[in-house]
């Protein structure tokens, strides 16, 4: 256990030191990413205004709060892209990973977890500017902020393991991009990333309830902007834990079968 803690701390430190060196690159990336929610925010604020102030229960101020918190949640749930596996296999990095005594998922988890600390620090000035421009109606209690911190990391875990499992499909076939694109489109529509799900038709919302996407996106956002009761928030954190466990289970199975297959091809 102590050995693992030290390993995690080490990898996280490497990520922090490395990513702070690439400040400009990180900012370019973050600004490009902020464009997306700003566009949604402007479009839906315009719609709200034309409808006399609100759309689907969201005023312009509510929408601003939603999409500004969105920027933090989105940054937090950037994890190892499934496309990375193609390179790992092609360049032989996976072979090295297989020789190590520790499962590579630990290194990725620690690395991305450490990177998130950099992301949060760098996000603060962006949030300040967005708040100054778009005037969100945001007034969270101390308890909500605490729960939001939990839900934020919960979302990170859900998405981290879901995408790690998805990436493992690369061990079976190299034509994965269509599958990944399909996954990301479903996620865009069913997670609350494009619009809050309450603006979607009821059947879409029902469908979303059976899928993991919203727990990594809309749920953390809504804990902070005050659209969920404390009981609902605890339930949501439970759902995050559940989906994380499911994704870990799938990862474990795919990893065991996939690496056996991979070794067979290589040997």
């Amino acid at each position: 256990m102590i050995a693992y803690t030290r390993m995690y701390a080490g990898w996280a430190r490497v990520a922090i030191l490395e990513q702070f060196q690439y400040r400009v690159a990180n900012y370019f990336y973050m600004i490009g990413m902020v464009a997306e929610p700003v566009i949604y925010l402007v479009v839906w604020s315009t719609v709200a205004e034309q409808r006399g102030g609100a759309v689907g229960g969201f005023t312009a101020g509510d929408l601003a709060a939603y999409y500004i918190v969105w920027t933090l949640v989105r940054n937090m749930n950037i994890v190892l892209t499934p496309y990375a596996w193609e390179q790992r296999i092609k360049e032989g990095e996976l072979v090295t990973d297989l020789l190590r005594p520790v499962h590579p998922v630990h290194r990725d988890l620690a690395y991305f977890g450490g990177w998130k600390l950099v992301v949060i620090v760098m996000w603060l000035p962006i949030a300040a500017v967005l708040t100054w421009i778009f005037r969100p109606s945001l007034d969270p209690s101390a308890a909500e902020i605490g729960l939001f911190a939990v839900a934020l990391w919960g979302g990170f875990f859900v998405r981290f393991f879901a995408l790690w499992a998805l990436g493992l499909v690369t061990l079976w076939t190299t034509r994965v991009s269509a599958l990944f694109e399909l996954y990301f489109t479903a996620e865009l529509l069913l997670s609350g990333r494009l619009v809050p799900l309450s603006l979607m038709p009821t059947w879409v919302q029902t469908l979303a309830d059976f899928l993991p996407f919203q727990w990594a996106f809309q749920f953390p956002i809504e804990t902070l902007i005050g659209r969920r009761s404390t009981a609902e928030i605890w339930l949501g954190i439970g759902m995050q834990a559940l989906w994380t466990c499911v994704a870990i289970g799938v990862t474990a199975v795919l990893w065991r079968r996939g690496t056996r297959r991979f070794a067979a091809v290589g040997g």
Binding site: F28, Y29, G32, V38, T46, R51, L194
Partner: protein, 246 residues
């Protein structure tokens, strides 16, 4: 042409384009399930904007981005020397070395979306509108090219091309909607800083009979000015380029 060997990539590209169109349509449909028009643009008109956005994106990915990526790569490796020693104009050479052929799918898909939009427009498109559209589209593509070349020539000291690509692709999404919906400061940036307004909204305005002669004159003169600035930036940039051996 090398890419033509990999035909499966065409299927992948078609699939990705179809998915992007579907997502765009869902976005439009969601907006129009809540309202009848967006700052005076009806559903078929916004569909026209979307068509131009996709087609222009295809052109950018097909000819502009790959050349800029190669240019930046050459600067880093010092292999730009091979271009500079050729007798032809260096700016022209670096701008037309690469073509990513499959992105042409987006141009076709954009044209189809545009066709559907035009059929559904309430007002028919006259000859003057169509000519204005073609001209505005050409001017817009030139402006985006200038923007990219200026960025590539100046920014390679700070960041890698992937970073510029990500930034640009993020901002490019803003062009999916007419710039009139954006607040003043953003609209101004999207017009003169990243010329998406000229590249997408203005051609769509022409198609929907909104384009005023004033806007067209502004677009033409801005294009001319940008071409001159790009030329100067390229020249100055070359003076600072020291080659692989230095």
């Amino acid at each position: 042409m090398n890419e033509l060997q990999y035909r499966v990539n065409l299927v992948v590209q078609v699939f990705q384009s179809a998915l992007a169109v579907a997502t765009g349509l869902v976005g439009l449909w969601l907006v129009f399930s809540q309202t009848d028009d967006l700052v005076g643009w009806g559903a078929p008109e916004l569909l026209a904007v979307m068509g131009v956005h996709i087609a222009m994106g295809g052109v950018i990915q097909m000819v502009i981005e790959p050349n800029m990526a190669k240019l930046m790569d050459d600067v880093r490796r010092g292999t730009l020397d091979y271009v500079l020693t050729k007798p032809a104009d260096s700016q022209a050479l670096v701008s037309m070395r690469e073509v990513r052929i499959w992105s042409f799918v987006d141009v076709v898909v954009g044209a189809i979306v545009l066709g559907v939009a035009v059929v559904n427009l309430e007002r028919s498109v006259g000859w003057i509108d169509a000519a204005g559209f073609a001209a505005a589209l050409l001017l817009g593509a030139i402006m985006i090219y200038c923007f990219w070349l200026i960025l590539t020539t100046t920014a390679f000291r700070l960041v890698r091309v992937e970073n510029i690509l990500e930034l640009f692709q993020g901002v490019y999404q803003a062009g999916r909607w007419p710039v009139a919906i954006y607040p003043f400061w953003l609209r101004t940036s999207l017009t003169f800083l990243v010329p998406l307004a000229f590249a997408i909204t203005v051609p769509a305005e022409s198609l929907t009979s909104r384009l005023t002669p004033g806007t067209f004159v502004l677009a033409s003169s801005f294009t001319a000015a940008l071409l001159i600035v790009t030329r100067i930036v390229w020249r100055v940039g070359l003076r600072y380029y020291s080659g692989a051996s230095a």
